[in-house]
Every structure is written in structure tokens, then in C-alpha cells.
């Protein structure tokens, strides 16, 4: 809920209703090989089981993995106060909420066909399907996350560093140019910018 409030305050256009109306959030059971943080959009088959196929099924599920657990955050930044740990966790959550909202806009272009929407994303901005698009999308998504945090006055040195490191990493991975990505954003029907 806090992530949504921050995004709203920062001027991100949000769909009406509550958080649960557009995305579920779950902390998966621990696994030996680790759990990753990611947004999992429901495909056409899954949406039948989560909503009985009704029109009000949400977009998918944000899975909170090891990297947002407090011990992991403190491993990377040992000097953080507890409220700062929570802000780093919120950063990850806001980032994933953007991925969820973005999927919702692709879904509009496919008239609710989730499999096709997943396919569009796979072609344009997925790690395996289009690495340059994936890299640019990660940069853009984290930039929007940074804007949300900045507009709420929540940035501090370690959080700025984390955002900067993430951007620099993906900048080093051959991201699609901003100009080319503008065309991708049209295909993705993306409007959720603060």
C-alpha cells in the first residue's frame, strides 16, 4: 500500500481501486537456490484459476524474493537504519509495480488476451527475446522508481548509490537507444510515467 501511496503522490497515473484490484503480492517459500523478486503476469490459463475467468482478475503477482529481505539488504549496506532498509525494500516494490502497470497497458492493446500480451513483451523487452530492449526497460523502470522516491523526499546516499549502480550496470549491457525505445513504448502502449 505504501508503494502505491508514494506513486500516487509522485504523479504516477494509477488505475482506480485498491492494490489488490490490479496486482497480488506474495512472499514465496524459501528455496535452497534462492527466490527472485519479479512480477509474474497471469497467462490466459492462470487467470481462469485466480478469478474463475471473470473480468475482474488482476494483472498478476509480484513475488518478493531474497534481495528484498532485510538481512540481504543489510549484507550490502551494513550501516543502514531500519527505516532505510524499508526504503530500499520499497524501491524494489515500486519497480515491480511499474512492471505490473506496464503489463496492464500492453494488455489493453491485446484486448485482454494475456498470452498475446506476454508475447508482445517477450518480443520487445524480455531478457531472452530482446536484450537491448530489456536493458533499456530496466533503466527506464528504475529511473521512474527514482523519480517516485525523489518526489517523496526519500532518497539518501545508499539508495542513490543503489539506483546509480543499477543504471550503470544496464548502461554497460548495450541498451537500446532512447530514440529506438520511444518506438517500443508506442507498441507497448506505455503511459505510466510520473
Amino acid at each position: 500500500m505504501q508503494a502505491i501511496a508514494l506513486m500516487d503522490h509522485a504523479g504516477v497515473p494509477l488505475p482506480p481501486g485498491t492494490l489488490d484490484d490490479f496486482v497480488s503480492i506474495r512472499v514465496p517459500a524459501p528455496q535452497l537456490s534462492g527466490v527472485d523478486t519479479e512480477f509474474h503476469p497471469w497467462n490466459n490459463q492462470e487467470v481462469q484459476s485466480v478469478s474463475g475467468g471473470g473480468p475482474n482478475a488482476n494483472l498478476g503477482e509480484i513475488r518478493l524474493g531474497d534481495n528484498v529481505q532485510a538481512p540481504r539488504v543489510l549484507q550490502e549496506y551494513p550501516a543502514l537504519a531500519s527505516n532505510q532498509v524499508r526504503l530500499l525494500q520499497l524501491r524494489a516494490l515500486v519497480h515491480e509495480v511499474f512492471h505490473a502497470l506496464d503489463f496492464g497497458e500492453v494488455l489493453q492493446t491485446t484486448h485482454g488476451d494475456r498470452d498475446r500480451a506476454i508475447g508482445v513483451q517477450a518480443r520487445e523487452i524480455a531478457f531472452a527475446g530482446n536484450r537491448a530492449g530489456y536493458a533499456r526497460n530496466e533503466i527506464e523502470t528504475d529511473y521512474r522508481t527514482a523519480v517516485v522516491l525523489e518526489r517523496n523526499g526519500l532518497l539518501f546516499a545508499e539508495l542513490r548509490q543503489s539506483l546509480s549502480d543499477y543504471r550503470a550496470y544496464w548502461q554497460g549491457q548495450g541498451p537500446m537507444s532512447k530514440q529506438a525505445f520511444a518506438g517500443v513504448l508506442v507498441v507497448l502502449n506505455r503511459t505510466r510515467y510520473p
Partner: protein
């Protein structure tokens, strides 16, 4: 030393843990091929061997001290 984002995603794909719906998905075969291509090594589908190698690589060990396939 933690692994890079790309290395983490490739290992996850190699393990068959990648979520096919997510933006981060990569198949086991594609992950294996990319790991081979990126490193010049071949540990097959042995995730732990790849993880060990990539960790040592991230720590900057000289090539002569890296494990060989």
C-alpha cells in the same frame, strides 16, 4: 563477491527456474549456450560449477587460476 545481474539470470535459466511469463525468462538451452559463448567455458548443465566459475571470474582471479572445464 555477488554475481552480476545477467549472470544471475542466466544461472536461473540454466536451473530451469525462470518464469516463462516474466520479462526475465530464458530457457535452459539458451542460458547454457550464452554462458558458453560469454566465458569460453563449458560446464554443461552443472549449475554449481558455472556458479563457482562465475564467482571467481567476478572476483577477478587470473585466468590461470580459474577452473577448467
Amino acid at each position: 563477491m555477488s554475481l552480476s545481474h545477467v549472470d544471475q539470470l542466466l544461472l536461473r535459466g540454466l536451473e530451469g527456474r525462470a518464469d516463462p511469463n516474466s520479462l526475465q525468462y530464458i530457457s535452459r538451452e539458451a542460458a547454457y549456450q550464452e554462458l558458453r559463448q560469454r566465458t569460453g567455458q563449458d560446464f554443461g548443465y552443472d549449475v554449481e560449477k558455472w556458479r563457482d566459475y562465475l564467482r571467481q571470474d567476478a572476483e577477478g582471479l587470473p585466468v590461470s587460476k580459474r577452473p577448467r572445464s
